[in-house]
Symmetry: C3
Amino acid sequence: NLLGSWFLVSFFAAYFSLQVIYARRAYGISPPKVSGPPDFERVFRAQVNCSEYFPIFLAILWQAGLFFHQGLTAALGLLYLYSRYQYFIGYKESSSGRLAPMYFSAGVLWILIGLAAVGILHFLLSHYVGINILLFSSL
Amino acid sequence: NLLGSWFLVSFFAAYFSLQVIYARRAYGISPPKVSGPPDFERVFRAQVNCSEYFPIFLAILWQAGLFFHQGLTAALGLLYLYSRYQYFIGYKESSSGRLAPMYFSAGVLWILIGLAAVGILHFLLSHYVGINILLFSSL
Amino acid sequence: NLLGSWFLVSFFAAYFSLQVIYARRAYGISPPKVSGPPDFERVFRAQVNCSEYFPIFLAILWQAGLFFHQGLTAALGLLYLYSRYQYFIGYKESSSGRLAPMYFSAGVLWILIGLAAVGILHFLLSHYVGINILLFSSL
Ligand SMILES: N[C@@H](CCC(=O)N[C@@H](CS)C(=O)NCC(=O)O)C(=O)O
Ligand SMILES: N[C@@H](CCC(=O)N[C@@H](CS)C(=O)NCC(=O)O)C(=O)O
Ligand SMILES: N[C@@H](CCC(=O)N[C@@H](CS)C(=O)NCC(=O)O)C(=O)O
């Protein structure tokens, strides 16, 4: 479900933040410092990078769910969150460990953007012009 | 009201940004530089940390208001913003000044997450199963 | 349209991210490093600064569109995105190149905040008190 998918984002965000807090303790990097050994910096950057994308992800998720299809959108949302989790884990291990999940999550995001675009186009066309390009739409 | 609570976020965000701009002037740290004396870095980090949490806060606020109870959610939202303001002020003074409001604001956020969870669960159960776990719901 | 305006944000966000990725390659700054020659740092900071404001922008856009007027809001939204694009381009060239579009985009954002405030006030007043301060409202 879309609600659950959106809802989970806060758990991931909280989890990533806690990881940074633990890493700060483990490496003794007290705020406001943000630089330190690469091992710390990778955890720190992983969290920053994920938070950067979350608002966009939420906005797109919402639009795709509203204008395309709830179930499919929710499934892709879960996939995105899962790949972001993999990204976090991978980045924590090594710099290159982030790459595969990064590409995967970017792919999922582009698919969601595509679905939202089709959904919105369909909504506008059927609303203003009366053409139906999407017969299986959930609307 | 929930609208007002959501709306206030932009004022806080604008206020924090302006504080960073003033701090940049006061300490002569012109962009793209982001490091400098700890006094500047604390203001800078305070703003970054707050913006990191705002999207999550808005998403949760919206869900708790929609699925649980508008008035209670709005009150907690105001409490969160107030504690974020305290966080900013405290962090500006000293690194440890941020801790108490940080814990407080995290606590408020967790309560909001809990309310949203209960609200969504209640919605799903009463919608699909017909069980009512929340008699005082605003829905 | 408001949908389109919201939707475009993801394209801009993706475009800015890609620019940072290209800049990372061009200057050989591999993550988790975020500092390097000013030319890289400006591109990096431009993307960070834009992502910082996007959630606030989306929230305000949504409120202004809902409570004030869709068409006007969408037009201002496009103006904001355009000025953010100018900001990115300008910041990439030089530090001072960011200033004019920055002020412009901040101005547009304040107008949107004002519209949302008037819209919400009007909604509350007409809903609870029965006074109509906004005759041309889209609601
Ligand atoms: N990005 C944050 C994520 C974790 C967090 O929210 N930490 C709290 C408690 S240590 C904080 O106040 N961080 C200060 C800061 O972000 O500068 C960080 O770097 O610390
Ligand atoms: N995080 C921003 C907050 C304040 C802001 O938005 N500043 C404007 C005007 S000085 C800006 O263009 N900052 C450049 C930057 O963020 O790199 C900062 O560090 O400056
Ligand atoms: N803020 C990001 C924007 C671009 C981006 O998302 N890059 C991907 C692929 S290079 C990444 O994993 N960046 C690592 C990081 O942000 O630390 C950056 O600095 O790289």
